[in-house]
């Protein structure tokens, strides 16, 4: 079957999609968008997180056919005109990256949180990132990075 949707602002049409194919496989194998990672395939790890019509989802638990007519944003679409998003900059600045495998999902989950809660406390950050696992267990620097991104956004808005 064919699936037509918007991916990172571009209209795409993918042919010969298998009915049981996941959105994650479609993004990675057919559209060469490998930022979303394939890890647990059961919604536990959050490494495959993408936005689907503005909602953060595990793309391994969305069928490609369910993306028909939707708008998808992946980690590849987060930087604007070559400039990293404040969340991405904060992860780099704070060293919130070890092996990097979980990073795309965590950056998007942090981005989603800050869109709704611009100045989260630690508990809000932990709850919002609860669906993303970092097996290097670098969680403290990730939390530091979310605070740092929040401050950068607030400072930019103040100037």
């Amino acid at each position: 079957m064919n699936v037509s949707c918007i991916v990172n602002g571009q209209a795409v049409s993918v042919t010969d999609v298998r009915p049981a194919e996941s959105l994650l496989d479609m993004l990675r194998d057919r559209l060469a968008l490998t930022g979303a990672k394939n890890s647990c395939e059961q919604g536990e790890c959050g490494s495959c997180s993408v936005y689907l019509d503005g909602m953060l989802v595990c793309s391994c638990l969305v069928l490609a056919g369910q993306a028909e007519g939707t708008s998808i944003s992946t980690i590849e679409g987060l930087a604007r005109e070559g400039e990293l998003d404040p969340v991405q900059r904060a992860f780099v600045r704070c060293g919130a990256i070890q092996c990097g495998f979980c990073t795309p999902g965590l950056v998007l989950a942090a981005h989603d949180l800050l869109c709704k809660t611009p100045d989260p406390d630690d508990d809000e950050i932990r709850e919002a990132l609860a669906g993303n696992l970092c097996r290097c267990t670098g969680y403290q620097k990730i939390i530091d990075a979310v605070h740092s991104a929040a401050r950068e956004v607030a400072d930019t808005a103040a100037h």
Partner: protein
């Protein structure tokens, strides 16, 4: 060749369901896609109801809420906190933000896991499940919807359309045990609903039996004890023997097994503790109500 059916309206969904009674229904996909990814399901035909707008809404009338089958946990958390605190709390404990953004109340019912988080609040509130097919609709009490683990009363050609549920008339509590606050399938769970106007009590037990259960003897005991003590009219601190009497009866209603998430003995113990806490929290809230 596997078929992928994606109805754009509810009548179309029911028509396709009638034409493809063996189709695997997928809504948010948070259960179904795991089974597909792990090769446990290889459906010949998928019926995707996630693009059906009619079932994605919540409406209110005559003190009742009608929650469409396609309403997600995130939607419940955002919209029904004041109407149905126990169901909202249960929805908030489901998975992670990513899972709550996709998983639906209708999918929870369709899967009919004994650990489904929505089920105890639905039992405790006396909810009814609206079941639809191309030939009509029928209502089934939540307490009669579940038959066995992952089995329910849905017949070929039927879909869960909505949940009809009376809004809260008093305190409601949902409590759940597990290894983390997030991403946990409950080792056991409990919902408690107090209705001071009707002087009634509702309970729902999850993950401690082949199906979600009510603790009817515990409800009857509590209603009787509260009435005998005049507590509904002039609520005072509950005596410890009343709390433990209720908690013992909740624990006795469980029919748990040993499994990967906990032993049967742990589940009975945890339910006794949860029941005592839930009653204390709900009663304290009732005493503080204006």
């Amino acid at each position: 060749m596997t078929a992928f059916l994606r109805p754009a309206s509810w009548p179309q969904a029911l028509q396709l369901r009638a034409e493809h009674p063996d189709a695997l229904v997928v809504a948010g996909g948070t259960d179904v896609c795991v089974d597909i990814n792990f090769g446990r399901l290889s459906p010949e035909c998928l019926l995707d109801i996630s693009a059906v707008p009619e079932i994605a809404t919540i409406s209110r009338s005559d003190g009742r809420l009608v929650i469409g089958a396609g309403v997600t946990y995130s939607h419940l958390v955002a919209e029904i906190e004041a109407d149905l605190p126990a169901l909202a709390a249960a929805a908030r404990t489901v998975g992670s933000p990513q899972i709550r953004n996709r998983g639906t109340i209708g999918g929870n019912l369709g899967t009919s896991s004994p650990a489904g988080d929505c089920h105890p609040p639905l039992l405790a509130s006396g909810a009814e499940i609206e079941i639809a097919s191309a030939s009509g609709t029928r209502m089934v009490a939540a307490a009669e919807f579940f038959l066995a683990p992952k089995r329910n009363v849905l017949q070929p050609g039927e879909l869960v359309a909505a949940v009809h549920i009376p809004r809260a008339f008093g305190p409601q509590v949902f409590a759940k045990t597990g290894t983390r606050n997030a991403m946990v399938i409950a080792a056991c769970s409990l919902a408690l609903v107090l209705d001071p106007q009707a002087r009634q009590v509702g309970t729902g037990i999850g993950s401690a039996g082949p199906v979600p259960l009510r603790a009817v003897a515990a409800q009857d005991y509590l209603v009787g004890a509260l009435s005998a003590d005049g507590q509904w009219d002039r609520p005072r601190s509950l005596p410890p023997e009343l709390i433990s009497g209720f908690a013992d009866r909740v624990a006795a209603a469980a029919k748990p097994i040993d499994d990967v998430r906990g032993s049967a003995a742990y589940r009975v113990h945890a339910l006794r503790v949860l029941a005592g806490r839930a009653l204390t929290w709900a009663w304290d809230e009732f005493r503080e109500m204006p």
